[in-house]
Amino acid sequence: KSILDVKAQKAAHSKSLIFEPRVAAVQSYQTLYGICREGFDELCHLDARFVPFGTTIFSEQSQDEDRTQMTASENEELDKKIASFLHLVGARLRLMPAIKAVEWLVRRFRIHEFDSTTLLSTFLPYHTIPAFVTLLSILPSDLPNLYIFLDPYAKSLTPPPRAIFVHRAIHNAEFLTALSMYTLDACRAQQHYPALISFWAGIMTEAVNGRIDRMRSGRSAVQKSNDQSLFLLIGPTLSDALVMSKVPSLQIACYMVITVYVAKGNLDDGTISALMEQLVAGWTVESLRPGLICLSVLAQYRSAKQMSAKVTKALLKVKNLPDLLTDIGKEHDLGKLANGLCLALIDRIYKKGDSRGLPLIEPLLLASVLSQQQAGVIFKSLLLAAYKLDDQVDEGGEIRKDLASTIIRLSQAESDIRAIFTQAINDTEVDLDELEMRLDIQIRPRLLPAQ
């Protein structure tokens, strides 16, 4: 029996990310530590956040630590440290020092057996490189449940194509959730890196697209329940990720997912509004531009026209919003977003006496962000706001004056907008005499010089 034990031990000791099994089998921990510690030290030079692991899983003392001799709670503690290290080293796995450091954890703490799920998750964004196949080659033959679909690739030692992960994410909720959790955990701990975010974003976007296609049903009750289950699956992840202001790249990745989700998912207004509000609650300078584009796509699929109070307030805070929207509008259709914002701003003028939106409405009307019809409606709303404004919300008449000068300037604008404005006045059954009196301005003579 003891011969068998020794053989088994040797076989276990020969599992390595770097060395051939026969070489690995006879290596002492001391030799190994020397090689691996060198890798670890180089990592510390690259990123000081590795340094604390030098006193634990990479300490001199770690050479004598055998996890089979540790208590359950000691093992648990060890697993936590290993997971934390793996999350951090994920960004560097194409570098030899990182592989050397992970090698130590494989050889000393047998993480390929005890922490195989975390280890595989860490390597996923690198599924195309040889190191991933090497990892597959040293894993125990019974793969962890979450990664059982990689079995054929482990057996044949071939790198799994991306499509395999997409397929799994479409058909297996547990995998999609685990991948999201891993990614979001890394982001929360500021251990994220571009490849991880890109990998997650791509899989998640394709999974959402694929799941919507797969769940199409002619029966509305079934469709409704399918929609609900997809929302339950991805909603919490999106909500968490959207407000991670410290990780704008993750937010942008979410915008990608949301864009596909909203364009295909036939979402109800409530869900779309909630996504819009979460989006603006979390966006930052870095994620603002893509955020605005995503917001405009959300607006396109919502039947309610006006932006909600939360979204409007967030947009009011954006510096240079008209310039930004004009610029984005050259490539993307921002009509519904700009229209909904203008309507909300006009509402605030005559309902709350808040005219902060006026300086926004004017450039938006003059820029070609709105369609002609939308611009027409906004003009009419402006006129009506002027008509509806009373002393109750505009005690000193200041807002009426502001509104008046805005209307005047717009009416004199050297563009085809002027014709729309004329049309708007004709269309609107507003008593212009009364309006002129209220605003203390003359509109018609300027507009209709021919009469």
Binding site: R94, R162, S198, A201, V260, A263, V297, K380, Y387
Partner: protein
């Protein structure tokens, strides 16, 4: 009270068809660690959807 009349501004919401191959092509251009910045990837997706919309609305 006077209500603002609705403009017929093409508000009808069209369902969008996104071919899975198109998305896959986009994400398969490079391994995750060699992909363009996530912001550029997002713009690609946004463009893909607006292109689809144009096709639908002109048909």
């Amino acid at each position: 009270d006077i209500d603002v009349p609705d403009a017929d501004d093409g508000d009808a919401i069209y369902p969008v068809v996104i071919a899975p191959q198109k998305l896959a092509e986009l994400f398969n251009t490079a391994p995750s660690f060699a992909m363009p910045p996530i912001e550029d990837m997002f713009y690609e997706i946004a463009k893909m959807l607006s292109a689809t919309k144009t096709v639908v609305s002109t048909s």
